[in-house]
Amino acid sequence: MSDKKNYDPYESLNKFSLVWEKQINDFIFLITNNKDFVKMSDRGTDLHSRYLETFKKNQEALASVLNLPTKNDVTNVANLTLQAEEKMETLEEQIWDLQDSVKSQNKEIESVVEVSKEIIKLTKQLKTELVKTKKELADTKGLHAELQELKFELLKLNDFKQEFETIKELIKEEKSSEPVLTGTASGN
């Protein structure tokens, strides 16, 4: 016991009790850690179980006469509750499965609706373009007819030009032959 640190009376008690406890436990294990003790405990447990079984049986018999509920009756009632709980759980899981499948179907429907919306848009676009194209076609046909007329007129004009050229040639030829006749008459 030094003066430097104060005395703790329980430290030594703690150390001793650790050693004592280990010694006692080792001693107990020494006595019990053998086959004979194990077999004896087996007999003892068996005897205890048999006694308890008989006691329980008699208690059940007595309880039925005295009209008292026993553990088994309470167990039976509890089992009914557990069964009901399990059924509710199965139902809940089925509802969840249905909810999940409805959700996934909704998603599919949504995507189909979107796709069909796009198709309608495209169809409308195509329709307007078709109307436009028809109009352009009609215009083109008209232009084509006019062109044909023009061509015909041009052809006519061409023919006329040719005839005119021929007439011009003929007139020229006639003009060139006339002065010969005039020259001969003055010489007499």
Binding site: M1, D3, N6, Y7, D8, P9, Y10, E11, L13, N14, S17, L18, E21, I24, N25, I28, F29, T32, N33, N34, K35, F37, V38, K39, S41, D42, T45, D46, H48, S49, R50, L52, E53, K56, K71, V74, T75, A78, N79, L82, E85, E86, E89, W96
Partner: protein, 355 residues
Amino acid sequence: MAADSPLKGLIPDLDYDKEMQRWANMFKVLSEPEPQIGHTPRNEIWRKNKSVLWHYPAKQKKYEIPLFFVYSLFNKPYILDIAPKTSVIEGLTNMGYEVYLLDWGSPGYEDKKMGIDTYIEKYLRTAVKRAIRHSGAEEITLIGYCLGGTIASIYASIAEEPIKNLIVATVPIDFQPFMGPDKWAEGLREGDIDFERFIDTYGIIPPKLVEGMFRAIGAPIYFTNYTNLLHRAHDSKYVDKWRRMNKWTLDQVPFAGEAYRQLASDLFKENKLIKGEIMVGNKQVDLRNIKANLFVVSGSRDNLILEEQSKPLMDLASSKDKSYITVEAGHVSLALTGLFAKIVHQWASSRSNPL
């Protein structure tokens, strides 16, 4: 020149402040109500029978893939949210993860026929589906602690749900190595002791017997927690931590009989898990079907689950991305000190689709 008292060296100097604080704290422990557990804000999303699925929203969501805690069937899961600042769940929500926790609840006598396969098929699977739906994520991370890790691994090998990551801490996969008395393990495996009749009679194992089972394996006589408290009662922080740990240790839940039978017979006695002989529903559980990214955490000072029990998962899982680390921690101190949150974040941050 005052004469020295002859008794000077005989009576030791006591630190009176310390002693007063010590006894004040001891009195508080005995008289005050228990500390408030579970302070991280949460909301209940789903409830089935006694099990509840809790959602702990992230403070500021930074990761897309949520974390789903699968806790053990022993004890209550509030160890993961034990105290402010050292809570695993609080740490993770502060780091930006959405956290879900499946609290199995306390089975009653009507649950005596519930086996581990029922827990997985009807409770865990539905809870994971609900969590995925609630979070709006495409995938999920499973985190299993101790027996919860075993359950998470079994589920991951047969799951159809998208499990991206599987994190397991102090998980017993191989039940051959055993921390307790070896003759007892031998006796159970060779049929010298059999609990079938016991389980049939009791239906569900009462909490005190579950506590007794843990004490029998570890420390039948256990009073050093009290002497530890007495020794350090002057430290108020330690006293608070001690009270929370003590409350959790003593707060055992009943264990469904059929689950206990499967644990003792299929898992422990015949070690069916690593042999791939366990059936859940009509599916055979083969740990080689685990394709999720795997992270196995082991505690070096774990006095309940040995490292050799967790290592086989690394060899069996077919995941391309698997890591194994050993941490300087005990079985419970991973969660108690909040160290687990940092370990999870270190590994899961790059695998949880940061936003």
